[in-house]
Symmetry: D2
Subunit: 337 residues, 4 copies
């Protein structure tokens, strides 16, 4: 199948490499508005067709799919064009800058009988796949809560807050892993440091409610001296800790059981928990982006949605919108429609 890439920045180069190396894809063109980026692409892929015109790309003969790896504000306009031409469309995360646009793209993809894939790459990592497997096969029991931390010190984006920058990763992982419907969002945060006139939040805390008592909480922070990428998932049978910064043993599964004592006198005072054995499953050594590139091909071929389809992309955008609305309203609960 023929594919072309629009947007050849940092992430675009990884996409170019993976589609170029893939046995399934024929890389047919690359587009960037910046001449310097085009030059770099030419250096690495001397025979690749390059252009600064999106229309030229979309007019490539027999194009099966495009990749949109441009700033978020431009996603809708480009995707709209490609979907209208019936071209399968891979969109960098987050899908769009508002949920109305996302919904319009979904409608267009249905009308034009093509698929949309949102590039929530984490879903294709061996670790997230293994956690999904452990949840699906009942190892953890019923999911009680989900607690995620993604904090570090580093480069700031100047035009979006930390929720738009970091939370799409966590919301997409959360929605992939927890097979329950989120109902509402509550968020707090602060632009603790003033680095431009926009006063954007660099720290935020997001609570996500479910129909039952399940609770999810995301901690995203651009200003932490520690780099932490940790998820704790509490289940009624076992509890799981995923530490993405660990060199080995990234996933640990704890055999934790509730010991509800029924005798009146003890019940009156304490409820006891115990920790039993722990085990850490080995993870295969695979590149997530390669997995996603292959998966995209197979889904187009078999007319199936990808594991990170437009509906999952829409839910991420809706959740971010709700979180930002709650944040402005001092943490008030915002329903997800």
């Amino acid at each position: 199948m023929k594919i072309a890439i629009i947007g050849c920045g940092y992430w675009g180069t990884h996409l170019l490499r993976n589609f170029n190396q893939s046995e399934f894809w024929d890389l047919a063109g690359a587009c960037d508005l910046d001449e310097n980026q085009i030059k770099k692409v030419k250096n690495n892929y001397p025979n690749l067709y390059t252009t600064n015109s999106i229309d030229d790309i979309l007019n490539i003969q027999g194009l099966d799919a495009i990749v949109i790896s441009t700033p978020v504000f431009s996603h809708f306009e480009i995707a709209e064009k490609s979907l209208k031409k019936g071209i399968n469309t891979w969109i960098e995360k987050p899908m769009t800058s508002n949920s109305e646009d996302a919904q319009k793209l979904i409608d267009l993809s249905i009308e034009n009988n093509c698929i949309i894939n949102i590039d929530h790459t984490y879903i294709y990592t061996p670790a997230v796949r293994k956690i999904k497997e452990l949840i699906t096969n009942g190892e953890l029991g019923e999911i009680l809560y989900y607690d995620s931390i993604r904090i570090n010190l580093g480069l700031f984006q100047h035009d979006v807050n930390v929720i738009w920058d970091l939370a799409p990763h966590d919301i997409s992982i959360l929605n992939y892993l927890i097979d329950k419907k989120p109902t509402a969002v509550s968020a707090t945060g602060s632009s603790v440091i003033k680095y431009n006139e926009k006063n954007l939040e660099s720290i935020a805390y997001i609570t996500i409610y479910y129909e039952d008592n399940t609770l999810a909480h995301l901690n995203v922070n651009w200003l932490s001296p520690l780099k932490i990428r940790q998820i704790i998932i509490g289940g009624s049978n076992k509890m799981l800790v995923f530490d993405d910064m660990a060199v080995s043993e990234k996933i640990k599964v704890y055999d934790t059981g509730v010991k509800l004592t029924n005798r009146e006198d003890i019940y009156e005072t304490l409820v006891q928990y115990r920790i039993g054995d722990m085990y850490s499953p080995a993870l295969p050594n695979k590149e997530a982006l390669k997995e996603e590139v292959d998966h995209f091909y197979n889904c187009i071929k078999n007319k199936k949605n990808t594991d990170t389809d437009a509906h999952s992309g829409l839910l991420v955008v809706q959740t971010i919108e709700a979180a930002n609305k709650s944040l402005i309203n001092g943490g008030a609960k915002i329903e997800l429609l």
Copy 2:
């Protein structure tokens, strides 16, 4: 000075030991309603006067102070009696079960010219003292944010939620370290597991707002397979991480500077942070409770308030009340008056 202890349960035995060993205090009596507890006390301190009557304790000749180490619902009634007699009063945390009672005790202590100490023991640990010193001497610069995690798996209290159980520790440490006025509270949480009819929360997330952009966040959880006791304090000069579970190097201070690039083109894209050297100060080997016992004596002698006085105790209770109110209202911001 003469002291007596009311309530000889788990924490009471630590109090008995420390007051007994102190060079400043003469332990004059112990009181418990449970005969078995009295027996245990008798075994360890054969010559100590014991009784199951609070009034008997308060009538001990020349009593300078009492310690109230009973369940929280009884704090007010006992403290009211002792303060009316002009006896200096040490109260187990949290001070009272509501802020009105706490305010009444403050008024009584002023009327009767005696002091109240709330036993927020963490304030007297070498680690918290060292952090206070680093903040006070300007090492961290202005405080930007405060992020605390106190989670583990263990014994449950059956009659209060996780906020009343764990958060008093963190709120007292926070208020001691951050010399700014908290203005409002937002909290979310869930009773993810049903262990009795009261449906009390076992997980909660509390955001505390300040007059400026400073933000504090507390994560308290009874259901975590990992035991984490961690505080991150972001300062404008340096950032500090306190890991109370670390065997050594509990405090780490990171030299983190903002590199605000003024050149138009780079400013437009990214704000950069760097991490420089880290250092970890050595901590003296002291027992916090012994420090507090000595401090209580010195404050009574010199007619000064303790570092954990009634006003700090009141603020903790007010913050917990606000957090619980917010929790019921889906995270809505509750002002601290």
Copy 3:
């Protein structure tokens, strides 16, 4: 059964507490040459018979056993007396200051029909018991190597080197876990810092050979800024890591398999290993010394040797002697007879 303790220093107080609390033992006397130690014992056990005469202790009516918790140079003389009286004898580690004395005590215990227990307490810890169980039930396969590190910074003993001070722990654990006959010892070390005229080694490395290719290595060091207590055991099926400083997950078992490739071309270049799942067994919460105290009683009652009997004590002393001989001879291999 009646027991008395000779030597009431640091470790002696732990022994007193455990024998006093035991349901199996009747603590009948305590002896120390230092009047201050006797006073401390009196304070804690007002009704206990105390004396500064070893003979008085040995003459206690109906005495079943004694504990010798005195400096190593005095072990032989005291044990000789008690064994000649047919009294079962618990000896602090290391058993004696030379292997001839140890052998004589073994002979005496046989002649007088009583047992000797050497207090290698580590053998009774839940962790070492669990490791033994994993080895015995074949979980690790054949034992290939044993690598132990016991290093820290702290108090120095002024009259023995680091091998006599620290290695008895490791040699006793090693001999308990590895059911093979050690045949020779090679050791190197240095008194890297001169703290008295004796120039005793504060760092040493000990290699222990077996009849087959199995190798054990012990690293003992009084001068390390890191406190490490780690054992790695390589087995033909699985490998085990024991980290005694870990707050949790002290034992980790790695599923490591050799992938011997038989194809000529690959075999010629590389032999490959893989790491699969890891698991960490939960450990019961038991005090090792209490286990040993109960075990001593049961062995006397049932006329059986303890798990840390005189033969194991002798082998420890022989190994230390060989290590010190090798150390003086620049690492030359010294046979164990």
Copy 4:
């Protein structure tokens, strides 16, 4: 300056990339006996001169230097040819398979007025540079001991033992950091697992003696489930721990002081050590191989020896030879001449 590379295997590709990107070097040719390797080189560097003839490479017009990145047994023969032509020569570690060959190459380089660089890359890492700086500026005081661990589970080399494979790294780092003359070597080890008929050691322990009481110890192991790369350096003022597996804070410097008590009674019992503050210096983000490539250029230009010159390469080979000789002789001390 013109350079060519002989041997384009795994490490050769890194060398090709670095010399190609260098502003100082003009990459003039690449040689490999394997046609497949030549093809891969051609793919990445279409304009580069390639050949399977070493003589062709050495006859390149105006060649300033060559890199020998071939199996160790071929180093001597190739280097002999290049040095005789007065070509500066970069040799993969270890320098040669015996010390006589290494000495002959040193003589040839002097005769022909050109330099030899041995590719002990670790010397050029930011971490090792920083440790050297801390030692040189007296931060640690006098060096007392050096304890290194390099263990992991992975690919085996089938034709050399673990000492020839792993120890060159550690011996070169040790010699670079410790500015004292090593005098003798003692080593033990075992081929705990039989993977071919050669019965080569996969575990080894090497002690290196110095003129004074300083001691160095290297632990190298191909069969460890834990990957450890750790160096502890004990100094009379401070002690340093280098953990190369740490994601951050690779170097920690501990303020450890000896507290020699002179009072007779305490001196008789214990020597006390203390740990004070710790700090961890930030490390610049540099690629070691790029540093070495630049350094090689500067040394040729300024007629200076590199920091990893032929004498350092010879000492590494001599130490390995002595270690292997000791190993065969059961750990006996082998003098370094």
